[in-house]
Each structure stands twice: as structure tokens, then as C-alpha cells.
Symmetry: C2
Subunit: 201 residues, 2 copies
């Protein structure tokens, strides 16, 4: 039964909502979640301002929904492919390379969505910051646990996760700011040598 009875109105609403959130995530990766404005979003999508607003009820809810939508894209692009291979060094390398590729191919036009919004909200207060921080913790945890799944790797997993993630974010930052794709090469070099060193410990 593929064709479940579906309300055409709800269907249309969800589609509009998806379009709004996709565009919102794109804008936010460049101009930040505060740079997002409901009016601009409406103009670019050629819908009414109140139409956009009605989907979320407040700007804060729009920002939260945008973060969730971006997280879904991130998971699809980076996390899920890595979880498709068994734990071990291959999974770890796929996870890291997946991140670099996700950033490098500009899944979001401003580079990694979460790099942008973490830096934007890190020193603020409120629900958006809390949500962003929570996703950051989730990413840290995933990397750490993936490291722990690698045998013959008797190092501090937290420390190694810190260093590896640092390389990824640095590559994103440098490549976007200076339009310099070699940053990804440097990150790959750093990841490989750090991993090699950790395995022979």
C-alpha cells in the first residue's frame, strides 16, 4: 500500500515548509540565522511574508526548524554513509572524509552550516544556542565513539576526536574565508598522519 490516503492540503503545506527550510538553511550558512529574515525569505521564494511566518509562529521557531532541517541534511550526507560500514578504521575514515567532502562540495553555499551557526550563537543564550550546542555535542560523541570502535588504537579518544574535528573545521574555515581549496588537502594530510601516529602507539 504505497498510496496511503493523504490530505492534499497538509501535503502542500509540508512541501512549502520544506522549500522554506531548504532556502533558510542556505541563507543561514552564509549570513547566519540572525541574518535570516522572514521578509527576505518570502521575497526570494515568491510567497507572502505572512505565509512564511504562519508556518513557524515566531522567528525563533523558524531558526530552530532551520537547524533541525540542516541537521537532517548533515546526517544524510555525512553520518548515514559512515554507519553503513562496520565499526573500525574504515568507518572512521569514511566519516572524516565524508565531512570534508560535505564541506568541500558546498552542500551549503557558505560551507558547513554548523560551523557558521556555532560561531554565531556560541556566546549567546536561548533555545537556538542550546539546540546548536546539543548537535555539536552529538557530533563530538559520534566521532569519539567511532574512534573507540577502532581496534589497536590505544589513545585518549576524546583527545583524538578534539584534534581530528579541529582539522575539519579549520579546513572549512580557511577554504571559505580565503577561497583556498588547498585547506582540504592540508586537513587530509593532518588527519592521516594523526591517525597513523595513533595506531602505532
Amino acid at each position: 500500500m504505497v498510496g496511503v490516503k493523504v490530505d492534499g492540503r497538509l501535503e502542500r503545506g509540508e512541501q512549502t515548509r520544506r522549500q522554506i527550510l531548504r532556502r533558510a538553511a542556505e541563507i543561514a550558512s552564509v549570513e547566519g540565522l540572525e541574518g535570516l529574515s522572514i521578509g527576505r525569505l518570502a521575497t526570494e521564494l515568491e510567497v507572502s511574508k505572512s505565509g512564511v511566518f504562519a508556518h513557524f509562529g515566531s522567528k525563533e521557531e523558524l531558526q530552530l526548524a532551520t537547524v533541525r532541517a540542516a541537521a537532517k541534511i548533515f546526517v544524510d550526507e555525512v553520518v548515514t554513509p559512515a554507519l553503513d560500514v562496520p565499526p573500525g578504521r574504515a568507518r572512521l575514515e569514511l566519516l572524516l572524509e565524508g565531512w570534508l567532502s560535505y564541506s568541500e562540495r558546498r552542500t551549503f553555499p557558505g560551507g558547513c552550516f554548523f560551523y557558521a551557526v556555532q560561531a554565531e550563537f556560541d556566546a549567546r543564550h536561548g533555545r537556538v544556542r542550546d539546540a546548536v550546542a546539543e548537535y555539536g555535542r552529538g557530533w563530538n560523541t559520534l566521532v569519539r565513539e567511532t574512534i573507540e570502535g577502532v581496534p589497536d588504537l590505544a589513545v585518549d579518544a576524546d583527545q583524538l576526536a578534539f584534534e581530528l574535528i579541529a582539522f575539519l573545521e579549520m579546513a572549512n574555515a580557511q577554504s571559505v574565508l580565503h577561497d583556498d581549496p588547498t585547506a582540504y588537502t592540508r586537513a587530509r594530510t593532518a588527519v592521516r598522519s594523526t591517525l597513523d601516529r595513533a595506531v602505532q602507539a
Copy 2:
């Protein structure tokens, strides 16, 4: 002749300007250079909005002046102390530790000013982004040249600078976002082991 004849009006103006820019840099490190508003700045400093505006003539000029003012603080806090010791490993370590301390002690309330504004402007266009990118290049160059001043360190200086700076920025990001001071410990560990490994190469 210490008491050079000075125009008291210009003197007062410069002092006001300095107060504006100090506060502007503090705000921008938390809320970003776009989060800065002339009206808010005026309210907090208890001066008139037009008084603030008159000092710069446009918001973009205020942003540029804020970046320059923050750069001066950064140089005073991080760069100058390191240049006071002769080139070599001691200077490199002082430079890196100076940065970590500058971030850790919250010279700017939102952590490193340049981390915040780089992430904010990296994907934009215009004079502010160009200025921020230029200071970023200057910092990269300084770290690389300081590395090159260390004897018995036959590694790719660009690569090493990439990795070391990555650790610093990661510490800043993690500590601010998660209110976690142990990020600095991790960065110091990473810096030391990376440096030790580079020196025995």
C-alpha cells in the same frame, strides 16, 4: 616637553571614539559585527545615536574601525609579547600559549574576536570581509614565520601552522559553546605533542 599643546576637543573626541570601539568590539565578539547596532551602542554608552554615528559616517566604517581596534588589542596581547623573545621554539610556544591565554581569559567576552567575525563574514563580500580575511592571512603568516624561525624543525611550516592554529580555534570554539575550560587543556596537549613530533623529525 611632555605636555605638547593639544586641542582639548580633539582629545575628548578620541577618547569617546576609543570607548565606542572598545564596547563595539566586546559586543561584536558575542553578537557579531552585524549584531552591532548604532542605536544600541549609543544607549549602552549613554551618548546620542547621532554622536556615535558622526564618528564613523556609516555602519560599514564603524565595523571596519571595530576590526582595526580589535586587531590592535590582539597584537598587544598576543603578538608583541612573543616578539619580545628571540626567534626559536621559545618564541613559538609563547605565541601559541599567548593566544590560548588571550582566548581563555576572555579578553573579549565572546572569546576570540576574530574567530567570531571570521565565521560571520567568511562567505560574504565587501570591505569588512576583505579586512577580516587580511588579518587572518597576517596571523597565518606570523605563525608560519615563527615556525620557520625554529631550528631542527624540518617540516612543512604551512602544514604545521595549519594544524596548530586548528587546535587554538577549536579550543576557543568548544570552550565558548560548551562552557568547557578543558578544551584548552586538550589544545595544549595537542600543541605539545605535535611540536614534539615535529622536532624529532
